[in-house]
């Protein structure tokens, strides 16, 4: 750690890990509700568990991005953070807002939450992933603006590297596209159409810039490869990501009432979406192979490589699997989508945040890397989580294929619930894989507390 103000990243990472645990626990509850339908009913209905599961994910990834940016931007800009105090205040605002929102989800029926938060004044609630009360959304915007102000000031006064520039564009884009969450027209088609401007243009747009910048930063640090080499590849990869991903939004516009030319445009461009992810994998492995130093933090290198591979599999391969309109006609809104969503989020965004945490946490705790013992445990966590996620994805894919066959393709289609009963075996197996994933998360957290021989920073 070169600048003391970088340490503000630490509470963000700790908060993120706390929410990660919550996310996985609620995921397990949902997984069980898939097979034991009345589990915890009526205390935690499925929709509530799902809100906590997905919103905790989004918030902890945002916290992870923020922590990463607070760590990364000063180091790249070669200057102290504009205001560490503001960063700490915003952390607590964000954490408390997130906690209150989750408490709101769990404590009262959603309709009550909508009423007491004044949703009728500016209705934005009740749409997938954007379930947060309007007041929470406004809070997110305020936190984001303060965060961007703080980092932009730091960025402007310091060295402007490609990594910093790309990261800042990604973060500004994140904030700007979030504003579409306030647009909720009565017209269902327009509602859905612009809803994707938040969701898709985040995960297959600006978030990829953030992902690329963080990955490039860590790769420079752990491999010692020339900045020049890494930065130009970063530009090439994110160009490919935006060129394919932007119009690739069309793969969400096939069946929601949008005009049918999207079936062609969406299919063609999203067919190219695996390309940037493939390039990213090649890039990560190449840089590590050409490394000029043996960084003591081997765990961070493993996470960086894992990000490349799993993002390619989850976002690239599993995305392509069902992105072409004639295929998507049958798979749209089935467990295939769930399979893709799980591996893509884990492979791209969960892993990149953990990569950054894994790299920077030891430095913030005053050492170049954790002890060998701690790293071995961390690598166990890597494999437990990653293999578990591969199996979650495979089981959901199997469930999805059967679901499509029984409910959509068959000449004598079964109803939704009749189909669900037929595929419950796969849901059980997914739940087992989910438990292994939780063990992986716990192992990861344990690795933070393992002492042993350490190298000084």
């Amino acid at each position: 750690m070169k600048y003391t103000s970088q340490a503000v990243a630490k509470p963000y990472f700790i908060g993120a890990m706390g929410l990660f645990v919550a996310q996985v626990l609620f995921g397990l509850i949902m997984g069980l509700q898939y097979v034991i339908g009345d589990f915890l009913f009526p205390h935690i209905p499925f929709n509530v568990a799902r809100m906590v599961h997905t919103n905790a994910l989004i918030v902890w990834l945002l916290m992870g991005f923020m922590g990463s940016a607070y760590y990364l931007v000063p180091e790249e800009a070669e200057t102290e953070l504009h205001s560490p105090k503001l960063a700490l205040i915003l952390f607590w605002v964000f954490l408390i807002a997130a906690a209150l929102t989750v408490i709101g989800y769990l404590a009262v029926p959603y309709a009550t939450l909508a009423r007491i938060t004044g949703n009728d004044l500016l209705p934005t609630m009740g749409r997938e992933f954007l379930e947060q009360p309007t007041i929470t959304k406004i809070g997110i915007v305020i936190v984001a603006l303060g965060f961007l102000y703080n980092l932009s000031m730091t960025f402007l006064k310091g060295r402007k590297t490609a990594i910093n520039t790309v990261l800042m564009i990604g973060l500004w884009g994140l904030a700007i596209f979030f504003l579409f969450s306030f647009y909720n027209p009565h017209n269902l088609v327009k509602d859905k159409f612009y809803w994707w401007w938040v969701v898709h243009l985040w995960v297959e747009g600006v978030w990829e810039l953030i992902l690329g910048a963080i990955l490039a930063f860590v790769l420079i640090k752990v491999t010692g490869v020339d900045r020049e080499v890494i930065e130009k590849w970063l530009y090439v990869i994110i160009t490919l990501a935006l060129v394919s991903g932007m119009v690739g939004t069309g793969h969400h516009y096939f069946w929601i009432g949008a005009p049918e030319f999207w079936q062609w445009w969406g299919s063609v461009f999203s067919a190219l979406e695996p390309v940037p992810f493939f390039a990213m994998t090649l890039f990560a492995f190449n840089m590590v192979n050409r490394r000029r130093r043996e960084h003591p933090n081997r765990a961070a290198t493993l996470w960086a490589l894992g990000t490349g591979v799993m993002a390619f599999l989850g976002a690239g391969v599993w995305g392509f699997l069902h992105t072409l309109a004639p295929v998507n006609f049958y798979t749209h809104g089935t467990q295939i989508t769930a399979a893709h969503g799980h591996m893509a989020f884990y492979g791209a965004y969960v892993m990149v945040v953990i990569t950054m945490i894994s790299y920077s946490m030891p430095l913030m705790r005053g050492r170049a890397a954790n002890s060998n013992k701690a790293q071995v445990v961390e690598m166990w966590a890597f494999w437990l989580m990653t293999v578990a996620m591969v199996f979650i994805t495979l089981f959901l894919t199997a469930a999805g294929i059967l679901q499509v066959w029984l409910q959509r393709v068959s000449d004598t289609p079964l109803g939704f619930m009749a189909t669900q009963d037929q595929i419950s075996l796969f849901y059980w197996m997914r739940e087992v894989a989910g438990v292994v994933f939780l063990i992986g998360v716990v192992t990861y957290l344990v690795s933070f507390f393992i002492k042993g021989e350490e190298r000084a920073a």
Binding site: E228, K232, W233, Y235, V236, T239, L240, V243, S244, P259, E260, F261, W264, W265, S267, V268, F269, A271, L272, V275, L282, F283, N286
Partner: protein, 198 residues
């Protein structure tokens, strides 16, 4: 992924080498993949609807299409001559030839706008039928490329006039030129495929 960072060579040498920056070649590759996938989709769809496609295709204005082909080829020729002139430090012709490329690009856009106006006036759009979905999508996607290409040629022209390129450095010039040739190439496939072949 191994690329050497040598100083931009100003003149051609014996060793085969890629003119223009490697980054633009990645971009060109991606663009050609997008066009390629679209072309294949067209060809496959057409194979299932030959008669409907032929009937709709008859309504296209091949004369404007042919004119546009000539314009783009001429434009590419101008850009090639401009790069050659710049390499030899003959800046005045370099600027003029780049001007030829730019004017051809602009003329293409004007002709295309007239073509679109006639189509819109006839009530045709992307949503008329599958053929017109492809016709408008492919030509508009290409149209956008020409717009971008014209912007790039304009920037190159300005920099040429300021003496920014010459035997000391044609790297940026070659990079922009490579993009323009790709735009030309895409049209040379698009025109016969959509306008002529049946």
């Amino acid at each position: 992924m191994d690329t050497t960072i040598n100083p931009p060579p100003a003149t051609t040498d014996a060793e085969p080498h890629l003119h223009g920056d490697l980054a633009i070649w990645f971009f060109i590759l991606a663009e050609l993949m997008a066009f390629g996938v679209f072309f294949i989709a067209y060809a496959v769809t057409r194979a299932y609807n030959v008669e409907a496609f032929n009937a709709a295709q008859a309504g296209l204005d091949r004369n404007i299409g042919a004119l546009n082909t000539i314009l783009l080829i001429t434009g590419s020729w101008g850009v090639v001559r401009s790069v050659q002139a710049a390499r030899a430090d003959r800046l005045v012709p370099a600027v003029r030839w780049m001007g030829v490329g730019l004017v051809c690009g602009l003329a293409f856009l004007v002709a295309k706008i007239f073509e679109y106006r006639a189509k819109f006036a006839a009530g045709l759009s992307m949503d008329t039928d599958t053929f017109h979905m492809f016709y408008f999508s492919l030509t508009f996607f290409h149209f956008m490329h020409v717009v971008l290409g014209v912007c790039i040629l304009g920037i190159l022209l300005l920099k040429l006039r300021r003496g920014g390129y010459g035997s000391h450095d044609v790297h940026g010039l070659e990079t922009g030129a490579a993009y323009w040739h790709m735009v030309d190439l895409a049209w040379i496939v698009l025109f016969p495929l959509v306008y002529v072949m049946h």
